[in-house]
Symmetry: C2
Subunit: 342 residues, 2 copies
């Protein structure tokens, strides 16, 4: 094995998937880890738990609409939520760099406390390690979440069937663009704010609103909605066709994407969900999502819309139907257009 880790392995696309499937799973795989879902579902002494972990290395640490601390809470809360589990407790581990201003660390702890309160979780265990200057870009955070399974059956992409419809809970691509604009001096002055927020109220509304009509649910973070849809299509052995005109993107974010040559479908989100539902409950699902108003650090669903439909094949293929009647393949990304956005 002479290959080396590259930034692409961290981007959430094809290289990430190969790293997991070809290097990690053969060594660590077991029946809980191998489904590669957002959280592992397990039973401990009768309690139906969900467990998930995420590392956060976003750069810069602060960006319009959020910062690494809040992101570390929302990201893990959201992985539990889209697994159909109510977030209960989190742990937090920090790798701090020698020389980091204590005030910067304190601000991120404040952001975590605020995000945790908004999401209704407690941070119950922690660890801090310090590395030499230059060895951690200031601050990395790893959060792990334990939740209580609420959906029964749990949403599972393998349950997706032809005819199902794909819903997104609101405008996409704000998070990735907000971080990118905060990081690079691109000369673009756009009012784009990260959507980082808890999606548990959205997930709960869907679970309670449409029951087992909810096939699959995911928060489209690294790799964006395109990557989520590719994972869905592969898991279920179906095709998915996106109505590109229906995909909601806020104006400033769309403008920035056009200037930068980025496709919003591949840009990360931290406060919306993609759900696949049976066609008979699609209207109920939209109504349930739209009734969630959201608030500070809590995502709302007033902008929920149908963006795609599930077809029988070709298996694993995601296509986009453009406004002009054309079609294009929406593939897994090979490289990494936007490194370190979470």
């Amino acid at each position: 094995m002479t290959e080396r880790i590259t930034m692409a392995h961290g981007a959430g696309g094809g290289a990430s998937r190969r790293l997991i499937e070809e290097v990690c799973l053969p060594r660590l795989g077991n029946d809980l880890l191998s489904p590669l879902s957002d959280a592992a579902l397990l039973n401990v002494d009768g309690a139906r738990l969900a467990v998930t972990t995420d590392a956060f290395v976003v750069r810069p640490l602060r960006f319009p609409g959020g910062s690494i601390g809040g992101l570390a809470v929302h990201g893990t809360v959201n992985d539990l939520a889209v697994s159909g589990a109510e977030p209960v407790v989190l742990t937090a581990a920090f790798v701090l760099e020698d020389g980091l201003a204590l005030a910067v660390f304190a601000d991120e702890l404040d952001a975590m406390a605020k995000a945790a309160a908004a999401a209704g979780v407690r941070i119950v265990a922690g660890d801090t390690k310090v590395v030499e200057a230059g060895a951690a870009d200031g601050l990395y955070v790893v959060t792990t979440g334990v939740g209580r399974q609420h959906a029964d059956p749990a949403p599972d992409p393998r349950r997706i069937e032809p005819g199902d419809v794909v819903i997104v809970s609101g405008p996409i691509a704000d998070h990735g663009i907000a971080v990118l604009l905060a990081r690079e001096d691109l000369g673009i002055d756009a009012a784009v704010r990260s959507d980082a927020a808890s999606v548990w109220p959205l997930a709960e509304a869907l679970i309670d609103g449409i029951g087992d009509g909810l096939r699959a649910m995911r928060d489209p973070t690294r790799g964006g909605v395109a990557t989520t849809l590719n994972e869905f299509a592969r898991s279920a052995g179906v095709a998915i066709e996106v109505d590109e005109a229906a995909v909601p993107v806020n104006g400033p974010t769309r403008g920035a994407c056009e200037l930068l040559g980025l496709d919003p479908l591949y840009v990360a989100n931290e406060g919306c969900i993609v759900a696949v539902v049976t066609p008979d409950v699609a209207d109920d699902a939209l109504a349930a999502l739209r009734a969630v108003r959201g608030g500070p650090a809590v995502a709302g669903g007033t902008g929920a819309v149908v963006i795609a439909e599930v077809l029988s094949g070709p298996s694993g293929r995601v296509t986009g139907r453009t406004t002009f009647g054309g079609r294009r393949i929406i593939d897994l990304l090979a490289g990494d257009p936007l490194p370190r956005i979470c």
Copy 2:
């Protein structure tokens, strides 16, 4: 707040404690986090769980007797064990550096799988992030563990009383010295191997063997046995006096400590436990520990001995009684003699 993070904040001594108590707890504190025990104990739907997290930034990644992957499993398994909980599942998050050889990552995954199998736990969720070359010293690992509470009552340093005795399960200081010798070219050629291993069989033997005669239990990692004893003395408002001649240290490790001017009491361990027990069960505790033979990646207790006794005061003070009849204060460390040993 104009202060900055320093290496001392990561050393597990006085500076670490102040960072936690003065910066973290006022922001994140709650009744589960604030006891600052090795794991949070909580009840979810009737299941009595323990949850803990640890970041691993050891340098170099490999050292005699272990490597970062195995250490990341043992460290978290052991935090659950000394909390009186049987380890059940782990999660693992990786921060990988661009350019890291895939074979190095794969070796650490193998080490984790081996350590997890030895400890009887499964790794059920994971995450990988990639940062630019130079931004993570190759590889950082964060593991989080969920366990099932086995001890009732849970060991708790606040239950320590004057007259109790302090036991260590075997020779100390091997881990920190093994890492230090692997890192620095000190011209010392000593056969020192890390003791990194699961201590759950030791903890289980004590819990089952002496019941509530077990007052407190901890794995003396960063800051070593001296730091653990200081934390015990502070928590219980008692004094602890160490019989320094009784403290077991392997010959090569003692020799290296003498050459380097290091006190073995402050050097990190990853495969032994310090337990405080009531005097009436001290012999039973020693017998229970000594019956644990250990094996590959599992710590044994054949070298268990009494090393200290608990006195009524002065509150929070730890002293050492030397071979020559003298006494010295064994304080919390202010600085960091051995950075990044875990």
